[in-house]
Amino acid sequence: MIIGETPPPSGAFGVDAIAMTMRFGDFLALDNVELKVRPGSFHALLGENGAGKSTLVKCIMGYYHATEGDIIVGGREQAIANPKDAHALGLGMVYQHFTLVPAMTVAENLVLARDDVPAVVNWPKEMKELEAFLARMPFKVPLSAKVSDISAGERQKCEILKQLYLKRRFLILDEPTSVLTPAEADEVLGMLRDMVVKGELTILMITHKFREVMAFADEVTILRRGKLAGAGKVAELTPDAMARTMIGAEELTVQPPRTGEAGKARLELKKIRALDDAGAVAVRDVSLTVCAGEIVGIAGVSGNGQRQLVEVLAGQREAESGEVRVAGDPYHASREEMRRHRMSLLPEEPLKNACVGGMSVADNIAFREFDRAPFASGGWWLNRGAFRDDAKKKIGQYKIKTRTPETPISALSGGNVQRAVLARELAGDVEVLIAANPCFGLDFAAVAQIHAEIMAARNRGAAVLLVSEDLDELLELSDRLVVMFHGEFVYEGRTSDADLTVVGRHMAGH
């Protein structure tokens, strides 16, 4: 169903959002925001969590109806009542999380996405058309492979191909590279950039990564707290200037310098073997020692057993064999052991792994300490006042943005959930810290804060095991670097001596 007139039949077109205001009750999510995306340009939309980026693009895509403001597509004002209208106008969106059906092939996923899937699909004909379509595209994906068998980079390419296959010519990308390796990200964005330059496509990309903005975007719009904070040509801006516009007067946490030397062995893994959910061996007899005052980074492409290894250490998965020792004592992830050794865990996807969404921020912050004074009187009666007081203190200290300590934690943005977990896990004197992709999908301010906390814990003498898919993060923080591939450690060395090409080769299994 097409409302108004269609944009030009081929080629790139622009989208302008004029004087957009969006209210959710009393809360002003967008305040008179303007966004001008020129036809055939690569436009970046920057902003911290909660700045209104998602709200703005959801208004453009018809998921939300702006309280005030107009949307102009290809030079004509359009009333976009729902995502279907947006699709009919040639607007498409690629989400941070994948929307493909894992059990189906790439070809099936592409055909499935169409509005007019026939009752009986003529597969030979469709395959021929798909191959012809792919031949015109800069990306190549294996059409007959199952989505569950292809890498994250290929999945993201599929998502983008799906939009192109559906003849969308204005793509909104919501943090499209958060699941990709830097090389994959550069490849995907480079190809999109080529299409933009050829005038086939217009792109609006939500991102946190200045590197990508500098390398690929023509123009940038920066939002701060629901208001337009700045806009301009990327060529005339520096990352520093953009960061300042993005975070306003807010000071980024300064990372303390690396001080002190590694001490005694604190965390020892001996021949740990663990299975994945399907029962296949995911971690193959790995051994590792992390000393006090040292950060050991585990690098590797997602899906090489890192998650299962962390789950064993977090008590979320039982090891098939092998043992873990902390300060020489056997460790089985019990509460008593975690307490005795002052262990802290910062798992990936904190809402899924470390929080109860329906419980309040204050409750979630108290998970480690609720059974002790002052939270519990006599070891059994909950002292509600103590929960609130402690939460208020930590909310201020860790800059957690929440309406009240009683707000359910699921109402918070990703960065603030991670801050709440940080507040809980790093409250005491940490002796062993295990962190897995702690900055995944977070904004500048949150990343700076988390990196500073991890470094501070190390300097205080904690043994830190940092598992990350972000190589830059590992190079910045870790003292020693280990590469995990197919469930084994295939490389180990001091980070200061690490050669990126060698590390990269081991990550790829060569």
Binding site: F27, L28, E337
Partner: protein
């Protein structure tokens, strides 16, 4: 709160406790928990009215007699409360494990095993002072029912068996054990038509609350419901249970012993239903026989769902459902409806309550803003 206030609160950084969130926002959730089940109940009554019209009866008469039979007189109130007592206890058998994210529907089985245990101990302790026998019966009922549901929890925790299915199947096993013993080893030779155990003796019966015909089981139920509420919302144990129920991965990462929590909660849940069985023996039947399988365990599931698994809300809901079942007799006498028609109503209520679950958070004017 104005938008400027929102801005400045956000600008101030973390929290804005001073801002008045307004009545609806503060109580919207609570209103929802009353309004939606209430509407489901009204909807179910309306549909039941249509059902009754098909029998050629006036639905308004129906509602009048239902009210009369449930709450119209002191007599009907006592009847209602007597029926509510076991419902409170069996509802806890579903509501407590629900805090841990488990769906246990085998309260009936725990009730039967609790009754059997209580009867056995009473028969074994014949001649002891009544108070000793009664206390022993309470303990036996709780332990018997508790172990029964704990079995379901253990099967889930150590063998990966779905607790809903296993608890339901355990009902039939419990019934079979009861029948086996009542018709065999424990049969009173004098019970000819209806195989039963011997009587526990009039002296050992727990009797009624003074001045009423309502037995002490109601007090047991009220204490159990209030204690459950305190346990879940005000104690360390309840907090740990809610963490594990809300997200098992979060519970594990902070080192909570999930197995112990599951087994303990299942024991307490089964214990409540077992206590209901003990009450039915010690206050109503005086012996164990197949009469005990009167469906209190199953109606308890309905009560728990209607109360949204909240132990305190179970009390009024159990009284309401007790009233509906108490009115069955009057409907039969005055309207000539089949005795089972209140079961039809219960079924309709259950369907409405389950369907109404989809409405939470979707009622426009109750939406809190965040």
């Amino acid at each position: 709160m104005t938008s400027e206030a929102a801005d400045s609160a956000e600008a101030a950084g973390a929290i804005a406790p001073a801002a008045d969130p307004g009545f609806l926002q503060r109580y919207g959730g609570t209103i929802e928990y009353v309004l939606i089940p209430g509407a489901a109940l009204v909807g179910a009554l309306a549909v039941f009215g249509i059902f009754v019209m098909l029998f050629g009866k006036n639905p308004l008469d129906l509602y009048f007699y239902m009210y009369q039979g449930a709450f119209g007189t002191w007599f009907s109130w006592q009847n209602t409360l007597t029926r509510a007592a076991p419902l409170i206890l069996t509802a806890l058998c579903t509501a407590l494990p629900a805090q841990l994210g488990m769906v246990i529907i085998g309260g009936e089985g725990a009730l039967l095993i609790g009754a059997l245990s209580a009867t056995s101990i009473a028969l074994a302790l014949q001649g002891m002072p009544p108070l000793v026998v009664q206390i022993a019966m309470v303990i036996a009922g709780v332990v018997g029912g508790g172990l029964w549901i704990m079995l379901s929890g253990a099967l889930r925790q150590y063998r990966g068996v779905n607790e809903t299915i296993s608890s339901l199947l355990l009902v039939y096993i419990g019934l079979a054990i009861l029948n086996h013993l009542v018709e065999g080893a424990m049969r009173d030779p004098a019970s000819l038509n209806k195989p039963s155990t011997r009587e526990i003796g009039a002296a050992n019966m727990i009797g009624s609350i003074p001045g009423t015909d309502v037995h002490w089981g109601l007090v047991f139920g009220l204490i159990a419901a209030i204690a459950s509420y305190i346990l879940i919302y005000h104690t360390v144990f309840g907090f740990a249970a809610r963490v594990a129920g809300g997200n098992i991965r979060a519970a594990k990462i902070v080192g909570l012993g999930v197995s112990k929590l599951i087994l303990t909660v299942c024991f307490l849940a089964g214990g409540a239903a077992g206590l209901a069985g003990m009450v039915e023996v010690a206050a109503v039947q005086g012996r164990t026989n197949a009469n005990l399988a009167a469906g209190y365990g199953f109606t308890g599931i309905l009560v728990a769902f209607l109360a949204r698994q909240n132990p305190l809300a179970i009390i009024p809901v159990a009284i309401l459902l007790g009233g509906i079942s108490a009115s069955g007799g009057l409907l039969q006498r005055r309207l000539g409806l089949p005795d089972a028609s209140v079961l039809v109503l219960q079924g309709i209520i259950f369907v409405f309550v389950l369907a109404s679950d989809a409405l939470y958070g979707r009622i426009g004017f109750l939406k809190g803003k965040s």
